[in-house]
């Protein structure tokens, strides 16, 4: 059953306020998407060369969601990042070399070989690594927001999750809990139309934004392929959260352009659906926007720059050792509890806050 593309409607609380993104911000957004695109392209190639153990998941065609959402989060905010959200890791400052090493199970990967593919989170950059049971992380994000509220801190938590995972109990528990306690949490629903081979028509009967309203929380639906629209929606949601206005569910409508994983040829997706979405490639959309500026951005140069970074990262990751089997039993228990650290927050709107933290 074909699904329709919903236009970027002005949903609750997303005012048409221009000017939150400087030129540099907009370039940074494209850079993050390009990093994700090119890293995943390279990783797929390595996978086909037999250098990536296990499965390989990518978010091809969905780069705008994680890039835009993560860009709106402050350094002191916290994120739960899922498997099609690589750009969020990039925005937070995880180095490309460590990402590729992670895919290849090397000792220098983010989890040092303990978990695979995108099941990672750099704790020093405020990211919690996902589990495979979806959407467990919605509750973890809710809990982080709960702590912020208990301590009266102007911080927010954000989690990504997919259309499929809205069917599980933890989705309900998280939305309900966040609503009852009015927590500063942002739930980013990446509706990419398919959960493995299951289309959304078989997944839920009610529109996600309506479901959010049913829990008593704000909901917004945005064009998930427009990185600036995603940014704006999450920015507003964060503002609401920090003002004590409670949680928001931001539905980013997009399309999964590759299979569920590298081993899935997705023959169950109608060809014309993919064709329509191919014309709305998020990276191309942002590139076109920047090329069309009065002082056009040299997108090709940017792409070459990012590619060079990915190439260098590939060499470094390939040169990294595999983990020592003797260490397989280490690190089951912690010796001390160190909370998550702050991540990179490149949006110009946070510049004041960055300097303030230095002063405070």
């Amino acid at each position: 059953m074909a699904t329709t593309v919903r236009p970027a409607a002005a949903a609750d609380g997303v005012p048409d306020v221009p000017g939150h993104l400087t030129r540099a911000d907009r370039i940074e957004l494209l850079r993050a998407m390009l990093s994700m695109r090119l890293l995943e392209e390279r990783a797929m190639s390595l996978y086909r060369q037999g250098r990536v153990p296990g499965s390989f998941y990518d978010g091809f065609g969905q780069e705008a969601v994680s890039a835009g959402a993560a860009f709106a989060m402050a350094a002191e905010d916290r994120l739960c990042i899922l498997h099609r959200d690589l750009a969020a890791h990039v925005v937070r400052g995880v180095e490309p070399e460590r990402i590729l090493a992670q895919y290849m199970g090397r000792a220098t990967g983010v989890t040092r070989g303990r978990d695979g593919n995108v099941h990672f989170g750099d704790k020093d950059r405020g990211c919690v690594g996902m589990v495979s049971m979806l959407p467990d992380m919605m509750l973890v994000a809710t809990g982080m927001a709960m702590a912020f509220k208990l301590r009266g801190e102007a911080r927010a938590a954000l989690t990504f999750f997919g259309d499929g995972s809205t069917s599980r109990g933890d989705f309900h528990e998280a939305l309900n809990w966040a609503a009852v306690q009015r927590l500063p949490v942002i739930f980013v629903l990446e509706n990419n139309q398919y959960a493995y081979s299951t289309p959304t028509a078989l997944q839920f009967a009610v529109d996600p934004v309506e479901r959010a309203h049913a829990y008593g929380i704000a909901g917004a639906s945005v064009d998930g392929n427009d990185v600036e629209a995603v940014f704006e929606a999450v920015r507003v949601a964060r503002e609401r959260a920090v003002a004590g206005g409670g949680p928001t569910l931001v539905e980013a409508v997009t399309m999964r352009m590759h299979g569920h994983a590298a081993h899935d040829d997705m023959r169950y997706v109608p060809a014309e659906l993919l064709e329509r979405w191919r014309e709305r490639d998020p990276v191309e959309l942002q590139a076109a926007r920047l090329r069309a500026l009065p002082d056009p951005v040299d997108v090709d140069a940017l792409r070459a720059e990012v590619q060079a970074e990915v190439d260098a990262a590939t060499q470094a990751a390939l040169a990294a050792p595999m983990p020592d089997p003797a260490t397989a039993l280490e690190g089951l228990f912690a010796e001390e509890a160190v909370p998550l650290g702050d991540g990179r927050a490149p949006w110009s709107g946070f510049a004041g806050a960055d300097a303030a933290r230095g002063e405070g």
Binding site: K123, M133, T142, D170, W177, A334, A337
Partner: protein, 323 residues
């Protein structure tokens, strides 16, 4: 030194730690205004406020999952499951999110999950379970089970201070039945075993309520003057292997006692340990006494037939002593 019930000791330990560390807070169903289904947190909300004695929605997965989130940003949540049995609804969050997080991501999850466990009062199949074995089997979780008021307080303090997820089994049947001297102020009890009574002829290994059953069943006059050692495990993960094997070395005969269902209970792990590493010291087979593999029934004669009682333990010891 004050004499407190097991329940009061738990309250006391929790209160002390909440006073000492503002990061500690309690979360669970009915723990705030109502003071908890078993009144462990009675009066807490007046002292600490509703934020720190949090009445949560009816959502066990939510309780554990949000606790993980709060913990990784610097808090020390103490989750209360209304009955241990309901942890099944939060199993995924506890085992897959909390338990595996540090191994995978190097991120510590300092949560404590209190489980009011055990039967003996016609609670029926959903209010009488001893689910500790499920969590012994999940790498990354620590599991402790005090049997005395003194240990209840000390183990809870230690559990809260531990940077890892700790499952804390408080046996409901001991809440008001058992009293003991409990030091005032703050103290920790290490996650090790304790000799409840020294002996030379046979060892009974037990934990939780079964420690008291074992002590009663093996009092010297019960077994014609035989000298029976009772080892209270106190900690199931980490399991005090050295203490278990030392006791076996001393007495050479051992009865392993579980209130939980026999198959793969904590005692099965103890028995396997002894069989492999204590073989040379054995003068008889490793005997297990546990509940048979049925849900704990409700009607008193049925429940009493299922839960190991003093008589069953006594008979097992008598047989093994004679072997």
């Amino acid at each position: 030194m004050p004499t407190l019930t097991y329940l009061q000791a738990i309250s006391d330990g929790l209160r002390e730690e909440m006073r000492a560390d503002e990061r500690v807070f309690v979360m669970g169903e009915d723990v705030g205004v109502f003071g908890g289904a078993f009144k462990v947190t009675d009066g807490f909300v007046d002292e600490f406020g509703a934020d720190r004695v949090m009445d949560t929605p009816l959502a066990e997965s939510g309780i554990v999952g949000t606790a993980v989130g709060a913990a990784v940003v610097g808090m020390r949540p103490v989750c209360e499951m209304q009955f241990a049995d309901f942890i099944a609804c939060g199993f995924d969050q506890l085992v897959n999110v909390a338990g595996k997080m540090h191994y995978r991501q190097g991120l510590a999850v300092p949560i404590t999950v209190r489980l009011p466990s055990g039967g003996g009062f016609s609670g029926g199949p959903f209010h009488s379970q001893n689910p500790e074995a499920w969590f012994m089997h999940a790498p990354g979780l620590k599991v402790v089970a005090p049997s005395t008021p003194e240990d209840a307080k000390g183990l809870l303090t230690k559990a809260i201070r531990d940077p890892n997820p700790v499952v804390y089994l408080e046996h409901k049947h001991l809440y008001r039945r058992i009293k003991g001297e409990v030091a005032a102020g703050s103290y920790e009890t290490d996650f090790t075993a304790r000799i409840a009574r020294e002996g030379t002829d046979l060892t009974v290994v037990a934990y939780g309520a079964m420690v008291h059953t074992a002590l009663e069943a093996t009092a010297p006059e019960q077994l014609d003057g035989a000298s029976v050692e009772v080892l209270d495990l106190r900690s199931l993960v980490p399991l005090d292997e050295a203490a278990i094997l030392a006791s076996v070395r001393k007495t050479s005969k051992v009865v392993v006692l579980d209130e939980a269902n026999a198959t793969c209970a904590a005692g099965a792990q103890v028995a396997a340990l002894i069989a492999e590493h204590g073989f040379e010291d054995l003068d008889g087979p490793v005997v297990r006494v546990a509940a048979p593999d049925v849900p704990i029934p409700f009607s008193p004669p049925l429940e009493q037939a299922v839960l190991p009682g003093v008589d069953r333990v006594k008979e097992a010891c008598r047989d093994l002593l004679a072997y």
